[in-house]
């Protein structure tokens, strides 16, 4: 009992609760006001879905939402495939010279200030004569999603102890069969986690998208930004709440997937 006591610092619990209050307060307020039938801040006019219906029927938001979904799905699929491939070489294969340099290169998009990546991508696409639009957004998203997809996959790979795929190959499985039927199923939670994280990172990106979108192409964050510029409407609250909930669901699922560490793989290492 005593040893627990001296670890405690009075007030730290209160600060933690304050920290959560700061983090969640603004989001909760937005969500609550998205259901308020009055436009007013101070009074509550009753519960309504009207702002959601209005937002869903807004053609600008419909187009933006479709663009966002399309880009996020394709970017998540491509970047996760690329990340799986890279992780197999870096986190599973034999160590080699220059490995840490390549690891740093893959994580490079995380280290550069986003605004710098944004303007350099813009300049690059214009210099090579690409028309700004969906394709440039997609390319940029695939690239900056790679490190986000890479992290959970490589963590999962490093957790798989034992040379399962080599055992399969000893039993005359081809390299592809060994990956497809042995390693890939064990890696699946990491892959799904990578897919989901890259999906929301793509869905949420504003700075880079805004630069490389060019005139006329919108995604949800760009549409929200444009609407906020004009003034607050309950529609913004509604569409924001939808995006908040999407992120929340995806992160929660991804968290529970990566939390169930590959126990079966750890407890039964193959003898070599």
């Amino acid at each position: 009992m005593k040893s627990l006591d001296i670890k405690k610092y009075p007030g730290f619990r209160a600060i933690t609760l304050f920290c959560l209050f700061i983090l969640y307060g603004p989001m909760l307020v937005i969500a609550v006001y998205s259901f308020n039938s009055l436009r007013s801040i101070t009074s509550w006019g009753g519960f309504t879905f009207a702002w959601y219906l209005k937002a869903f029927n807004n053609p600008t938001i419909q187009v933006a939402a479709l663009n966002s979904l399309f880009i996020a799905v394709v970017a998540a699929l491509l970047s996760t495939m690329i990340a799986v491939s890279a992780a197999l070489a870096l986190a599973r294969g034999k160590t080699f010279k220059g490995q840490s340099a390549l690891f740093a290169l893959i994580n490079l998009p995380l280290m550069i200030p986003e605004i710098v990546t944004a303007v350099s991508s813009l300049v690059f696409f214009i210099a090579i004569g690409f028309n700004l639009g969906l394709l440039t957004i997609l390319i940029a998203h695939v690239v900056f999603c790679i490190p986000f997809a890479y992290l959970p996959i490589s963590a999962r790979l490093q957790g798989i102890k034992g040379h399962f795929e080599e055992a399969a190959q000893d039993l005359y499985a081809t390299r592809w069969q060994a990956f497809r039927f042995i390693l890939a199923p064990m890696l699946m939670p990491g892959i799904i986690s990578g897919l989901m994280l890259s999906f929301i990172v793509s869905l949420d990106d504003f700075i880079i998208t805004n630069m490389v979108a060019g005139p006329g192409t919108t995604t949800l964050p760009i549409a929200i930004y444009g609407m906020v510029r004009v003034g607050f409407t309950p529609e913004i609250n509604a569409i924001s709440t939808v995006l908040l909930l999407t992120s929340l669901v995806f992160v929660t699922v991804s968290y529970f997937l990566s939390r169930n560490a590959p126990k079966n793989a750890k407890t039964k290492p193959l003898q070599h």
Partner: protein, 307 residues
């Protein structure tokens, strides 16, 4: 192909060169990042030494003018270069705001990390998850939510007016205060996580020993806990300071375009005032600052690890 990847000859582990299949597996990621991240960065560095085109874009003539423009401005009448602190003051403002946000995050983040790390293992993950979630939530929307709350007609001012504490709304939005608050709120999870990781590894028998030797809680905190978890604190500060310094969304939304930070200055050159070489030069300066800060701390921690 394999030899091409053999970049880092003085790698710490004297191991073999990359196998052929590993090279193929890495190829898509390496190619994409080189083509769409590294190459554009090189292009930006080149553009920063060119002359601005009349209607945006660049003229392919060498000029260091963009860097000169950063510190000097041309006098209208005499055409002499006069020192000007306009852009330096934007950098100064960015540093002050980023440091303020970092200190605020540390003051709130350290106790939070400590509290979570000393929870029983079962509830610890739930606390930690609650801190992590906001990181994955759209930063633009979180910032918009903050503006929604602190603006003149927002809930805070409305409540204060309704209770009769104030008669005129307090101007929070579109000030430096709002930007600082926004940065603090944006990057708070970044402070908690590395400090938590350090405290979780802390050997609490040290704390008990200090207590047995009649150390007060305060002196245990300052003389035992903080020195031991210092690497985590430094990591947390870097993770808050660096994105704050180059941030765009918080100053743009909460500063209302009047209180510029480095990020907005760069974006403006590619959107509004259209001086690409100058924007490129500011981007190069920001990137150099960020990378040197990272390198400095990386070398410092490598040195301490060797000791």
């Amino acid at each position: 192909m394999a030899a091409h990847f053999n970049l880092n000859a003085n790698s710490s582990k004297p191991s073999q060169t990359i196998a052929k299949d590993q090279a193929y597996q890495l190829l898509p990621a390496v190619l994409l990042i080189c083509l769409f991240v590294v190459l554009p960065l090189c292009l930006i560095a080149i553009f920063s030494f060119l002359k601005p085109g009349t209607y945006g874009g660049v003229e392919w003539v060498f000029s260091a003018g963009s860097y000169v423009q950063f510190l000097f401005e041309q006098d209208f009448l005499t055409e002499n270069l006069v020192f000007s602190a306009n852009y330096l003051s934007i950098f100064f403002n960015s540093f002050v705001l980023a440091i303020t946000a970092t200190v605020l995050c540390l003051i709130i983040g350290f106790p939070t990390a400590y509290f979570i790390a000393t929870r029983p293992e079962r509830t610890r993950n739930i606390w930690l998850f609650a801190i992590t979630v906001p990181y994955w939530v759209n930063l633009l929307i979180r910032t918009v939510a903050m503006l929604f709350i602190i603006r003149d007609q927002g809930p805070i001012n409305s409540i204060l007016i309704a209770t009769g504490l104030i008669s005129e709304p307090i101007r929070f939005a579109y000030t430096n205060f709002a930007i600082g608050l926004g940065l603090f709120y944006s990057y708070l999870p970044f402070m908690v996580l590395p400090i938590y990781a350090a405290i979780e590894r802390l050997d609490f028998s040290l704390v008990e020993a200090a207590h047995d030797l009649y150390a007060t809680r305060r002196s245990t905190l300052w003389n035992i806990i903080i020195p031991v978890v210092k690497p985590g604190i430094i990591a947390g500060c870097l993770l808050v300071f660096i994105p704050s310094l180059g941030s765009f969304i918080a100053p743009d939304i909460l500063g209302g375009g009047k209180n510029l930070m480095i990020g907005n200055l760069i974006a403006l050159q590619f959107q509004g005032s259209r001086n690409w070489p100058f924007g490129a030069a500011v981007a190069v300066i920001l990137l150099t600052l960020v990378l040197s800060i990272l390198l400095f701390f990386a070398m410092r921690s490598a040195k301490e690890a060797r000791k």
